[in-house]
């Protein structure tokens, strides 16, 4: 019965890594570009190039609308959230600056920061979250120094699914004249975000997770009020504009967008983003659905699976990401059995986040992680709980 309902007879719970399946309109949009449009946007004056340019523009507009941004040119497309975070972090921080981040960061934030610290360019404070992964804004306020340039925070944890109070942290940033950079890789498309009201200066998003676009899509979004010249470009090159000059253009998005864009990917991202934005109940309903699935899974597993040990909350609003393990087995053993014998796809280990696992007390082995999508349902969760119960009782199929 489950086989009819899921793609290829599997249950895909690895949506926090990248979402699957994508809505049909996403693959159709990619196919349409690949077979009917094909050209390089912004480089030539012919019809096909103009059409490609229109797709890219619509994608920018859709992403801008998603985050309450007025100027769509402030959406800079990148190949993933990692590239956007590197652009923001390396672009903003300079010699002698101090930066603040948290113990819940993904390596895409903590590695560039650590690298800059190691090279003696910046000093860095890492604010410890509590055991549930939540940050206390007051601790962040107290860590601010005279030379603090930026605070970089992961909005929603890729390990436990918890959501940080970014509006409050952003307010502290504004009051202190500190740049607020937010990693929205896990939250964009699940948690409503308003770049202005949430006091964000720069955000990074992944197009291929909860926006249901293809892999190879993401972006950096710069708030309307933020002076984008405070960000140095990381890449220099061809933009199709001001080609008579060897200077990099200083207007948006060209300042940061050198090289041919992934238009096939962006076609799909546009379709995915519109799909999410116009879904019944909007993003608010998506957050409710994720929270509901997370709660359902945790409560059911706690009831039925004897040595189920969970690190995510069944109470708080969350992005549908659950970290757990079975005490008697190694996490890789269980992931393997779930995949091979039950067709359940999930991710085990440290999820590119060693500090987050230290914070929740699961380092160095890590945990299993289920990440639910809008297409998952309680029946699939029931099946997974039964599978975990059988594994835990030592009676695999």
């Amino acid at each position: 019965m489950l086989k009819d309902r899921t793609e290829g007879g599997v249950i895909y719970f690895d949506n926090a890594a990248t979402s699957f399946p994508k809505p049909q309109c996403v693959s159709e949009a990619v196919m349409h570009y690949m077979t009917k449009i094909g050209a390089n946007p912004g480089r030539s004056g012919h019809k096909m190039s103009v059409e490609a340019g229109r797709i890219v523009f619509k994608a920018r507009k859709s992403i801008a609308a998603l985050f309450g941004l007025r100027n769509p040119m402030r959406v800079i497309f990148t190949s993933n959230a990692t590239e956007a975070l590197n652009m923001a972090i390396l672009g903003v921080l300079e010699k002698g600056d101090h930066a603040i981040t948290s113990s819940m960061e993904h390596n895409s934030t903590i590695r560039p920061l650590h690298e800059m610290e190691k090279k003696g360019i910046i000093s860095l404070s890492i604010i410890q979250a509590d055991k549930t992964g939540i940050l206390d804004p007051d601790k962040i306020r107290k860590a601010i120094r005279a030379n603090t340039k930026a605070i970089i925070i992961n909005h929603a944890s890729n390990v436990v699914g918890c959501i940080q109070p970014i509006r409050e942290i952003g307010k502290i940033c504004r009051e202190n004249g500190v740049i607020f950079i937010v990693d929205c890789a896990q939250s964009a498309g699940i948690v409503p975000i308003d770049i202005d009201q949430d006091n964000i200066d720069i955000l990074a998003f992944a197009g291929h997770k909860a926006l249901y676009g293809p892999t190879g899509t993401g972006g950096m979004v710069i708030a309307d009020r933020f002076d984008f010249k405070r960000i140095k470009p990381l890449k220099y090159g061809g933009t199709g504009s001001l080609s008579d000059k060897i200077e990099q253009p200083d207007f948006l998005p060209d300042r940061f967008e050198s090289g041919t864009l992934n238009v096939a990917g962006l076609s799909g991202l546009l379709a995915g983003s519109e799909y999410i934005r116009h879904r019944d109940g909007g993003i608010e309903r998506i957050l409710e659905h994720k929270t509901e699935l997370q709660k359902y899974f945790i409560q059911k597993a706690e009831m039925l699976v004897e040595d189920f040990c969970c690190f995510s909350s069944a109470q708080l609003p969350s992005t549908g990401v659950v970290a757990f393990k079975l005490n008697k087995f190694s996490v890789s053993e269980i992931a393997q059995i779930l995949s091979d014998e039950y067709g359940i796809m999930c991710r085990q280990g440290l999820h590119c986040s060693p500090l987050a696992h230290q914070t929740i007390g699961t380092f160095p082995e890590g945990t299993l992680r289920f990440g639910f999508s809008i297409f998952n349902n309680k029946e699939e969760i029931d099946f997974a709980v039964q599978a975990l119960k059988s594994i835990s009782e030592g009676k695999q199929t």
Binding site: P41, G45, N71, M73, T239, L242, S243, D244, F251
Partner: protein, 71 residues
């Protein structure tokens, strides 16, 4: 009589086309006429009488453009 709006980049040209259309101004993207030079492959053609209205819309949306030329 027609006029063309020239831009520094095609991103702005497409954005302008989109905004002008949403204000029901008649306009279209065309290649830059030969006697005008612009690196950006195309420009937006409007009716010359809409020049002021178009300027207002572009300014209100902070869409940067190089200049408007009456043809």
């Amino acid at each position: 009589m027609k006029a063309v709006i020239l831009f520094y980049s095609t991103n702005q040209a497409i954005w302008a086309e989109n905004e002008l259309k949403s204000h029901e101004l008649s306009c279209r993207l065309i290649s830059v006429p030969r006697h005008l030079s612009s690196d950006c492959g195309y420009c937006v053609q409007i009716d010359a009488e809409d020049k002021e209205k178009a300027t207002d819309i572009l300014t209100a949306n902070k869409i940067e453009f190089e200049k408007i030329e009456i043809l």
